[in-house]
């Protein structure tokens, strides 16, 4: 299995509404745009907010793209596909 090109951390706050939406929206987006070549870690800040602080994340929901560098952060419920494509530099990627 080849190493995933894309790796993400999604920071959420328990079952809060925007967090829940982001949790639902982002895997759907990935499957559509990236197939299976991605790794996603979901961090609930109620369980470990230290992880969030370590990544300099101070609000949720927040998505951090670790690779490919440089690192990018997107905020909100991740329902805006166009914004995601632009932010994650996926223009032209199929």
């Amino acid at each position: 299995m080849k190493k995933n090109r894309f790796s993400f951390i999604l920071f959420v706050a328990g079952g809060e509404s925007h967090s829940t939406k982001a949790r639902h929206n982002f895997p759907l987006f990935c499957e559509k745009r990236l197939g299976t070549s991605y790794a996603l870690e979901v961090v609930d800040v109620f369980e470990s907010y230290a992880t969030a602080l370590r990544h300099s994340i101070f609000l949720t929901p927040a998505l951090v793209m670790l690779t490919p560098a440089p690192r990018v952060t997107v905020f909100g419920d991740l329902s805006d596909t166009d914004e995601l494509i632009r932010a994650l530099r996926l223009e032209g990627v199929d």
Binding site: A13, E16, S17, L59, P70, R71, G76
Partner: protein, 428 residues
């Protein structure tokens, strides 16, 4: 990463990130903030803010309502008191909070009664209302109305919420009003019965006086028939005088009788013209052939009790003829609108006139200004006129110069007349 000297591309991507952050914040697409000391849910922060706002609002309401409001524990210890409650009982808030409500009652009985009564009412319907008295700090007693309910719905252990209204003044005014009403009612009843007595009295007198007068009149006739030959000239003059006096007495009784009956006249309204009335009156005038009556045309139709108007004009016109030595005796009747539907009618004669100082008095009963030889009258006529005018909610005044005739100005309101609208609807 070029942390020290970012490239243009890096700067641009950081800017883009900041923009995404700002727009997410602006659009409220954020759940929680993460600080070094924990996670803060924005939802709770909003709730908290709302709660604080609502508490502040409640506090403002409690501060400003003109009702004393306080909370009391299940053991009847005062927990809170708003400014109005403090004002009612004359204590500062600090003097009340933490004390038993017993301090506000006059006696142990009152304290126990209110407790028992409100408890029972709250049990029965969730809310209690009692009236009691409290003693202020300065010792004064005030009447208060208490409305009591549990702080939490149907939970007595949550404490009680008291609304207190000082009704001392209200009570006093009510009592005063009640006493005044009793008094005026009593007076009204007295006045009514007096009025009724007077009417019955007048009626009885006029009715009962008629019989002896008729008897006297009959005996006078017998004397004329049987004893005329036996009487000398002087005695005949006495007899004539007696006859005249009896006739006057009769006329007076007749007028009084009419006056008392005015109050009993049916209030049935009819539509009729001034001409109708004058036609009825004319044959009843003395020396009718010497009277020239000139009436302005186009007068509006009356719509009122016919009998009242007949008496009214009959008395005015009879006076105009009676107190009149001119030949011919002229009576001019004219009218003008007073606006708002009413009319002023004038009745002008060329009679003997009345001195200005008597203009006020003539409408009172038995006011006769002229010596018997000048004219005859009973002194009731203008009193009848005045009474009728009052009953029709109009007014009457006189303009007169002795020797130059009198003019009566009679103002009658719209309610006495047939309006054009009504006429039209009747035609249709």
């Amino acid at each position: 990463m070029g942390a020290e000297k970012p490239t243009y591309a890096e700067l641009e991507s950081r800017l883009a990130e900041k923009e995404r952050l700002i727009s997410a914040l602006r659009q409220n697409r954020i759940d929680a903030l993460i600080g070094a000391d924990g996670v803060y849910l924005l939802r709770l922060r909003t709730l908290q803010k709302k709660l604080e706002q609502s508490e502040a609002r409640l506090k403002r309401i409690l501060q400003t309502v003109p009702v004393g409001i306080g909370t009391v524990s299940e053991q009847r210890v005062i927990l809170e008191a708003n400014p109005n409650l403090c004002q009612i009982c004359g204590y500062r808030r600090e003097e009340l909070v933490g004390k038993s409500t017993r301090m506000l009652y006059v006696s142990d009985e009152d304290y126990a009664d209110v407790g028992r009564e409100t408890y029972a009412q709250i049990q029965a319907r969730g809310q209690g209302q009692v009236e009691t008295q409290i003693q202020r700090k300065d010792g004064r007693i005030r009447r208060v109305a208490l409305t009591v309910t549990t702080v939490e719905f149907e939970d007595r252990s949550s404490g009680l919420l008291y609304a207190v209204q000082d009704i001392t003044e209200q009570k006093r005014q009510m009592q005063q009003l009640y006493r005044m009403q009793l008094l005026t009612n009593k007076k009204k009843i007295e006045a009514e019965s007096m009025n009724q007595d007077l009417q019955q009295y007048t009626y009885a007198i006029t009715h009962d006086l008629k019989a002896p007068l008729r008897a006297i009149s009959n005996y006078i006739s017998f004397l004329y028939e049987d004893a005329a030959d036996a009487l000398d000239a002087e005695q005949m003059v006495y007899l004539d005088g007696l006859k005249k006096a009896v006739q006057e007495g009769n006329a007076m009784i007749q007028d009084l009788f009419h006056l008392t009956r005015l109050d009993h006249v049916a209030r049935k309204k009819e539509i009729f013209s001034l001409q109708d009335i004058l036609k009825q009156i004319r044959p009843m005038l003395e020396n009718a052939h010497d009277v020239v009556m000139n009436v302005q045309t186009g007068f509006p139709m009356f719509r009122t009790t016919r009998l009242l108007l007949r008496h009214l004009f009959q008395n005015l016109i009879t006076n105009a003829v009676k107190f009149n030595h001119s030949n011919p005796k002229r009576i001019d009747i004219g009218w003008q609108s007073t606006g708002s539907g009413g009319f002023e009618i004038f009745i002008k004669d060329n009679g003997i006139g009345i001195e200005p100082e008597y203009h006020q008095q003539i409408f009172q009963i038995f006011r006769r200004l002229h010596a018997q030889k000048d004219a005859q009258g009973t002194g009731v006529g203008l009193a009848v006129v005045n009474k009728i005018v009052q009953r029709l909610h109009g007014n009457i005044r006189i303009v007169s110069t002795p020797g130059k005739g009198s003019t009566f100005y009679l103002r009658l309101p719209a309610s006495v007349f047939e309006t054009e609208a009504e006429t039209c609807s009747k035609i249709n």
